[in-house]
Subunit: 237 residues, 2 copies
DNA sequence: ACCTGAACACCGTTCAAGT
DNA sequence: ACCTGAACACCGTTCAAGT
């Protein structure tokens, strides 16, 4: 009795490192990073857990590869909106264009990460650096230098941007559950101990009482911070 | 035959949530966050793993508590250098002082985190927010408002600062292993694909050939970014 | 060359039982 | 009230064995 007749999905395809990595990304996208175990991943691929070790050294290597897959996606998206070297022969004066180009690259990166919300956490734990991440940063350096920033300022810029260059920041408060209708409600019975925060929340909530995305629009805040930094850097030109 | 006579360290002290949490912090400090398992922690305390569950709901609750311990340490250090409300009756004009006070608080937070290098990773995974973190932010809000920033700008400020308010940033490249004597060496055989980065590294390394901390001084870069942001915010006053 | 099964040393956690 | 031992369902990984 053949495997297919027993209702078991036989291995449909031979494994490869690339197939393993892309399946891992898909699994994390669908069920979160906690679901990404060697056993579960193998199951998704119709193989046994041990088979993965032929294509991947260990779990750490798997995560390095997963990060690189996401980083390649970012690189591609960023190159599509602001390549280096610039292809457009009609680019305006470099000094004016660098900010826009860097901004476009970073917002494109952010758009990619919104599809992989688990990725920032994984990026944080990686010690080896993905080639695609390095390429992305090389392009940022090129654009900033072309805009008239010194290498020294560009170097500082990479540090200031940090993970923002890849489109994410470390938010300490989860806007998801903190929001609700009334943001200051979450401080109930606690407000007298945090008078400043309570005051701020009351006013900010009042200013924009019915924003669709809750009282903190992630995209708006990300862009605000990005522009604050880019403007600050431009002033050092 | 008593337990002590058999050479086994009998439980010297009764457990408590506070003792468990502080032991967890110490364990992570000494052996890294990966060593922080329920079994290992119990062993350090001279008890059985299952005993911990009487004082802590589960591992998630343990990590929430651990984060709060670190956050209380931060709060205390920050209040020591820049309390709110300000205690000094001779404070200069508020507009000039807010930046310095916020800067002091954040650098004090950073000093604490340098003693707990594993903490940022744990902060990232927490969804519940630590009371001590909320208090620290309340004080930042107070100082900024006192400095003449509108609630709206202060709100943006908290988002821009993000984890920086607690003294850490997400660095994508590990300065530890990337450094060495020659930073551009790490791009060997790759330099032609990343000409901008290679150019930058050559010049930056040359500028400061023998800095003790390697080619990227974390503290310098952190302060550079912090000041860039604070100056940008001040301009919105 | 590529894949597998059994086995090992770990996890976090439940539950009934001890003092 | 506080702590424990045995047991369960998971991990990542080694290794010898299959095709």
């Amino acid at each position: 009795m053949p495997a297919a007749a027993r209702g078991e999905p036989a291995p449909r395809l031979r494994l490869s490192r690339d197939r393993v990595l892309h399946a891992a990304v898909g699994l994390a996208d669908r069920h979160g990073i906690a679901a990404l175990t060697m056993r579960r991943l193998a199951e998704d691929l119709g193989h046994e857990a041990m088979s993965l070790y032929y294509h991947v050294a260990n779990k750490d290597d798997l995560l390095d590869g997963v990060v690189d897959v996401v980083a390649r996606e970012i690189l591609e998206a960023a190159d599509a909106v602001a390549p280096w070297p610039p292809t457009d022969p009609h680019i305006p004066a470099a000094g004016l264009a660098w900010k826009d180009a860097v901004r476009r690259r970073i917002l494109a990166a952010r758009a990619v990460l919104l599809r992989h919300p688990w990725a920032p956490q994984v990026f944080e734990t990686r010690t080896a650096m993905s080639p695609a991440v390095v390429l992305h940063h090389d392009r940022l350096v090129g654009l900033m230098r072309g805009g008239g920033l010194s290498y020294d300022v560009v170097h500082h810029a990479l540090h200031v941007l940090g993970s923002r260059a890849l489109g994410f920041t470390q938010e300490l408060f989860d806007p998801g559950d903190a929001g609700g209708d009334d943001p200051s409600a979450m401080l109930d019975g606690f407000a007298d101990q945090v008078p400043n925060l309570a005051g701020m929340l009351r006013e900010v909530a009042h200013t924009d009482p019915d924003s669709t995305l809750g009282w903190c629009d992630d995209q708006t805040e990300f862009e605000f911070g990005l522009d604050l930094i880019l403007d600050g850097l431009d002033r050092l030109r």
